[in-house]
């Protein structure tokens, strides 16, 4: 549904998006995961044709976004980060306005707007001015607005920022349900790992304008930690000069590092038993042995916090 080829955007000497290749398939929920300022929003704006790429092409539903933005915007619903409404109008009026911008007649717009308000759970607040809406309600109204044009794709830019945890859960469930019921492709950008993990079929990791990895969550950790499947931490009593070499010679061990009296052994497969055996046989007293598998948390730490440094 969305094909990005060699997409690049530069602002002066700053490269916001760097040679991005990405394909998003129909009906999937794709999570664009990255820290603030990684270029997620810029990429999304280019998909909608609101910003012109410096190089590369964007195709959405087979249409080039840069040269035919109107056709793309007809099929794509976009919920911007921190969405705003006309505060002196009611939720219903805001929704009808957008519907009519999409070419619906007044009556169709009204019917559709009230149906959608019911669907996102805002039917009771339809007549309230949006200035009085809470943050979570605004996001749900935003989702209703995105859906009013019967989109094939919806793009949500940081939809969960600033909502409380229960609101986030409701919102995510709503997205998931909509996507499954209507077969809508969803592109979802976030810097919250756990939210992405909850609902996304596939994830793209975005740091400093580059897509460093993409795939489903299991595939992602394999891709990122190729050859370093897990780390075993061993604390030993006393010193043993040859232990580091001994451990390094065990099959499946990639690297051994001594830090504050703790051996950090990176392995490509689970060889914890062999390591324990080796330590005991070397005569050193094994005080503590801990196995650490890499999860998305580590992906997050390794790439995002590393990316900021």
């Amino acid at each position: 549904m969305i094909v990005l080829t060699g997409l690049t955007k530069r602002y002066g000497s700053f490269t916001a998006v760097d040679n991005l290749h990405l394909t998003i398939r129909k009906g999937e929920i794709f999570g664009l995961l990255g820290p603030n300022g990684a270029g997620k929003s810029t990429t999304i704006l280019m998909m909608l044709g609101l910003t012109d790429p410096t190089a590369g092409t964007v195709e959405v539903c087979g249409i080039n976004s840069t040269s035919h933005p109107i056709d793309v915007k007809r099929k794509v619903g976009y919920l911007p980060e921190d969405v705003g409404f006309y505060d002196d109008r009611t939720g219903m009026e805001n929704l009808i306005y957008i519907a009519r911008l999409n070419g619906l007649s007044a009556r169709e717009a009204e019917e559709k707007a009230s149906a959608l308000l019911r669907r996102v759970g805002l039917a009771a607040d339809a007549g309230k001015k949006t200035g009085k809406y809470s943050r979570g309600m605004r996001q749900r109204l935003g989702l209703a607005e995105v859906l009013i044009k019967n989109p094939e794709i919806i793009i949500l830019d940081e939809p969960t920022s600033g909502i409380d945890p229960s609101g986030v859960r409701e919102f995510m469930e709503l997205i998931l349900r909509l996507s499954r019921e209507d077969g809508i492709t969803v592109l979802f950008s976030s810097h919250h790992l756990h939210q992405v993990q909850q609902i996304c079929d596939r994830v793209g990791l975005f740091v400093k304008g580059r897509l460093i990895a993409e795939g489903d969550i299991d595939g992602l950790s394999q891709q990122l930690f190729a050859g370093e499947y897990l780390t075993v931490k061993a604390r030993i009593a006393g010193k043993n000069e040859r232990l580091q070499d001994t451990l390094g010679n065990i099959e499946g061990v990639v690297s051994v590092r001594l830090q504050d009296g703790v051996y950090h052994v990176s392995c490509s497969q689970d060889v914890t038993a062999n390591i324990a055996d080796a330590i005991v046989r070397s005569g050193a007293g094994l005080l503590h042995l801990q196995k650490e598998e890499y999860g998305l948390d580590d992906i997050y730490n390794r790439y995002f916090e590393g990316g900021k440094a």
Partner: protein, 319 residues
């Protein structure tokens, strides 16, 4: 409600117009303008007898005096329009784009299947149609009240002159509207753009004349100077004054509303010699003010063009 689907452009225009009409600042501006207009109409009518003199070349055009006559206590309709019109234009345009941006609605609207220029064009068209409706309503109300009170209907010529005068005032307000739209694209804060527009307005209404006076004094030719030199000097000063849009409107309005005005520059005795002190026809009056009207429209178009270009290039980000 209509059931047919409107063109998106008209949907935006309709929404913008209803925003304007509902907004407090518009209601207040309309209140002020309507009050002052009727005040000036009252003063014009109360000493109408003294304004119409026998053997006046404009005697047959006394209906037009409703717009220009004043007994000195309250300025005339014309002066009020040239003073309050800019405020109206500025109040309708100063937050056109930046408020949309700050509220986060800009990216949302532009994500809909519409061209980007629809938004700025619609803002302009909406404000302009609100202004036009207001001015024509006011002008026609003044005509109607005058008709009831004086009891003599205006001639077709007078009516057309009033219509052209209203059109010229709309152009004038449109200039200020576009200036404030330009500032609203340029400045992120609505307050900044409002202050900038008002600063330009104050400059032209108060300080510009002072500056021109200073220049005029400095360049004053000696009384013994040759006639051509003095005429050239006066023309130069007049042209300096005409840089201010309000001067353009004044020139245009006086010529249109006072048919006996035959030139806006100095006239020599030779030029006047042989001229019959009779009013000009509408066509001739229009010819005289054509440069002024063109100038007003050009200034409007330049401002709109600049705001259009900078809006089209603007990076659309959420907030």
């Amino acid at each position: 409600m209509k059931t047919s689907s409107l063109h998106p452009f008209r949907v935006i225009v309709a929404k913008e117009i209803s925003d304007h009409v509902r907004s407090w600042r518009f209601i207040i501006m309309v209140g002020i303008i309507a009050l002052t207009c009727f005040g000036s109409l009252y003063t014009a009518l109360s000493n109408f007898g003294s304004a119409v003199k026998p053997n006046d070349p404009e005697g047959s055009f006394f209906f037009l005096k409703l717009f220009t006559a004043s007994d000195g206590t309250l300025p005339s309709f014309l002066v009020f329009i040239s003073f309050l019109g800019p405020l109206l234009g500025i109040s309708l345009g100063f937050d056109a784009i930046n408020t949309e941006h700050n509220r986060g609605t800009l990216s949302r609207i532009l994500a809909q299947p519409i061209h980007r220029d629809y938004l700025i064009n619609a803002k302009f068209v909406a404000a302009l149609s609100v202004i036009s409706m207001l001015f024509f309503a006011l002008g026609f109300l003044v005509i109607g009240l005058g008709l009831i009170i004086i009891g003599i209907p205006p001639t077709a010529g007078e009516f057309l002159r009033i219509v052209f005068f209203l059109l010229a005032s709309i152009c004038y307000v449109a200039f200020w509207l576009n200036l404030s739209i330009l500032f609203s694209v340029q400045f992120r804060q609505a307050a900044t753009s409002a202050l900038a527009s008002i600063a330009v307005w104050l400059f032209f209404t108060i300080f510009y004349n002072m500056i021109v006076n200073l220049i005029a004094k400095a360049m004053m030719p000696p009384e013994t100077a040759q006639v051509q030199y003095i005429i050239g000097y006066q023309k130069f000063i007049l042209n300096l004054l005409r840089i201010a849009p309000s001067q353009l409107l004044n020139d245009a309005a006086t010529t249109l509303l006072m048919p006996s005005v035959r030139s806006l520059g100095p006239l020599t005795m030779e030029q006047v010699h042989g001229a019959i002190p009779s009013p000009l026809s509408l066509g001739q009056s229009l010819l005289i003010v054509w440069p002024q009207l063109t100038g007003l429209i050009a200034a409007t178009v330049v401002c709109f063009g600049l705001s259009y270009a900078s809006f089209m290039r603007k990076e659309i980000r959420s907030r």
